[in-house]
């Protein structure tokens, strides 16, 4: 290869690698159309942002709930088997068996609407109308004692609904509250007088057979 051609080749390569930097944009992809955004952007926030137009009553919600939800969540939201409990549990959060329901634990009603709309009923997502989702949400709020029997939930009144446990949540404070877990020199010698076994997994006996600990002959 002549010297000239080598130089020309390098220049061409340099031009190639520089191309993506033009104007700071790569230029891949295309602009999303409004219809496409509308089809996917269904998320709802606590301030009501993202709620679609519509409404639904506690009464309609009860019928829909019994048809669409009760098999797993129980007729009264008590949860069948290990499916999530949705109703009750107030006053249990400090107990040995806390029941974390919409009424006892969840901070925002919007979470209920958002999740039903995006993922419920389980195995048949996106099959409910917006009015259906309003109605089922209204029914669950009613069962949790948050709204009255004749309540109609709508886009307009949604953000007025407050859940009782909202104020009990606070941002991660581990770096302050657990500051003592940062230590310069953890103990290496004679760190404690004794170490006695106080609990054994074997006594609980819930490990699946296939994976159980191996007996040594």
């Amino acid at each position: 290869m002549s010297k000239f051609r080598k130089v020309a080749g390098l220049a061409l390569f340099a031009a190639l690698i520089a191309a993506p930097a033009l104007a700071g944009k790569v230029g891949l992809g295309r602009e999303a159309l409004p219809e496409e955004i509308a089809a996917w952007d269904i998320d709802v926030r606590p301030d009501g942002a993202g709620l679609p137009p519509g409404k639904g009553s506690v009464k309609d919600g009860e019928q829909l709930y019994l048809q669409q939800c009760a098999t797993c969540h129980g007729e009264f939201g008590e949860g069948a088997g290990r499916w999530p409990v949705l109703v009750g549990g107030q006053g249990t959060l400090k107990s040995e068996g806390p029941e974390k329901t919409i009424g006892s634990f969840w901070p925002y009603a919007s979470t209920t609407f958002d999740y039903i709309k995006r993922a419920m009923p389980y195995g048949n997502a996106r099959s409910l109308s917006d009015d259906d989702v309003y109605a089922i949400t209204a029914f669950l709020l009613n069962q949790n004692g948050i709204v009255k029997d004749d309540f109609v939930l709508s886009k307009e009144n949604f953000s007025k609904v407050k859940l009782p446990n909202e104020q009990a949540f606070y941002h991660d404070d581990r770096e302050k509250a657990e500051r003592h877990f940062w230590q310069k020199d953890p103990c290496m010698k004679n760190c404690k007088a004794d170490a006695k076994v106080t609990g054994r997994a074997r006594m609980v006996d819930v490990t699946p057979e296939d994976g159980k600990s191996i007996k040594v002959e």
């Binding site: 891949l28 926030r45 901070p107 509250a177 657990e178 230590q183 076994v197 054994r200 699946p208 600990s213």
Partner: protein, 425 residues
């Protein structure tokens, strides 16, 4: 009889450092090889594999582990969840070594089953508070400049969640197996966000999955711009279906639930969304009835994988104690190991790459005389965080938090080598 020099070294290294306990251990066994009385037939008789032709090259177009490794599989705990489509299984940590988790053994967690997605029908949308909402095909994404390869651990926030009230499951696969470590191939999320142009009031992003749970989480824009990736490759090949094929988000050091799989959309907003997986789930209920939210970082943690209940000791004498350590805050600086339930500790030997927010492998070469041992490991990360005991953790967090149990694990090794998950005083 001559002693293996490596063995002598290891005896001095580990057992010499443990004071009174070590003295007893190191005296019990010498390193002498056993003698045989009869010739070994696998040596003296010609074996089939030595005489006959093996498989041809096309026998396994995609190679699989030897059939003798059939027990090295993911396992689930059926009673944990209501259905297998919204459930979890566990990485067999006790049967693996090094730091990389093989693709087929990475634990699974789905909220609406693992969908089969045709990559030609997969799209990634970026919308919300951006100058120009964009749609990308998989081909578009793979043409972006700035492709990177990075190793990160992914740990489910609920890893060890069954152990808050006491020792429950007998095996590190079940107590610690909701973690895996993979080298990802993809592009920084920042590249895509810059392409769309984040508006000045864009403070949060929300990745969303294409699966039937349409998984969503809120991530602050600083983290999204700092080190999050959008990836299509794991350990050199395409993502496995159960790990998000064809596209997932990587959120280094932060809880696995945020690493949305089957990623189809990223919305930019000015507030967090407070969706199901960051309110009713993945918040930490404390003893006073209040709850921490946005507990994204995975605290430093470690576990001895060998010996463990599924991988007991079977021989006295030289044995390799091994384990894994990791931290969501950076690199592992040190791992200490005790065999007497925490009275005395010895710093373990770390081997292999020590990478930020990656599993890190440690070893202690021991010489076991058959005495009972209470084995623990304690990780320390580059920020000086020291993995707490379970009791220290319970003192701050109570028993109901489910998530973020990074307390020190204890294995009781009995005199016959059987190993149990226990708690100690």
């Amino acid at each position: 009889m001559d002693q293996d020099p490596q063995f002598q070294k290891s005896r001095r290294g580990f057992l010499g450092g443990l004071g009174a306990t070590a003295a007893g251990l190191s005296l019990a066994q010498t390193g002498s090889a056993r003698s045989a009385t009869k010739p070994d037939p696998v040596i003296t008789e010609i074996q089939d594999w030595n005489r006959y032709l093996g498989d041809g090259v096309a026998a396994n177009p995609y190679g699989k582990p030897s059939k003798f490794e059939k027990n090295v599989v993911r396992r689930d705990v059926e009673w944990l969840t209501a259905s297998r489509e919204s459930s979890v299984n566990f990485t067999p940590l006790h049967a693996l070594d090094g730091i990389i988790t093989p693709n087929g053994l990475c634990f699974e967690r789905h909220h609406g089953g693992s969908p089969e997605i045709d990559p030609s029908k997969h799209r990634l949308m970026i919308n919300g508070l951006v100058d120009k909402p964009l749609v990308f095909s998989m081909d578009d994404l793979k043409r972006f400049p700035g492709r990177v390869n990075k190793v990160f651990f992914l740990e489910c926030a609920a890893n060890g969640g069954m152990e808050w009230k006491g020792a429950q499951l007998n095996g590190c696969q079940f107590t610690h197996g909701m973690v895996h470590n993979v080298m990802y191939t993809g592009i920084p999320l920042k590249v895509l966000l810059d392409e769309a142009g984040v508006k000045t009031n864009g403070k949060w992003v929300m990745p969303e999955g294409a699966d039937s749970s349409a998984m969503t989480r809120s991530i602050p824009i600083e983290k999204a711009m700092q080190d999050c990736l959008v990836v299509w490759g794991m350990n050199g090949e395409a993502l496995r279906q159960e790990q998000g094929y064809p596209l997932r988000i990587v959120v280094p050091g932060w809880e696995g639930n945020m690493w949305v799989k089957w990623l189809r959309r990223i919305e930019v907003g000015d507030q967090p969304w407070h969706h199901r997986e960051e309110t009713s789930k993945y918040t930490d209920l404390l003893a006073d009835g209040r709850s921490r939210r946005f507990t994204w970082i995975m605290d430093a943690k470690s576990v001895v994988t060998n010996p463990s209940p599924q991988a007991p000791l079977t021989q006295k004498g030289p044995n390799v104690l091994s384990g894994l350590a990791w931290s969501g805050r950076g690199t592992i600086r040190r791992v200490d190991v005790t065999i007497d339930g925490g009275k005395n500790w010895q710093t373990a030997r770390i081997d292999g790459p020590v990478l930020p927010m990656s599993l890190t492998r440690f070893y202690v070469d021991i010489n076991w005389d058959g005495r009972e041992m209470l084995i623990q490991s304690r990780a320390m990360d580059e920020t000086g965080y020291v993995q707490p005991t379970k009791d220290e953790l319970r003192k701050v967090r109570g028993l109901n938090s489910i998530y973020h149990n990074n307390g020190i694990q204890t294995w009781l090794v009995r005199s016959n080598g059987e190993t149990e998950n226990v708690e100690i005083s």
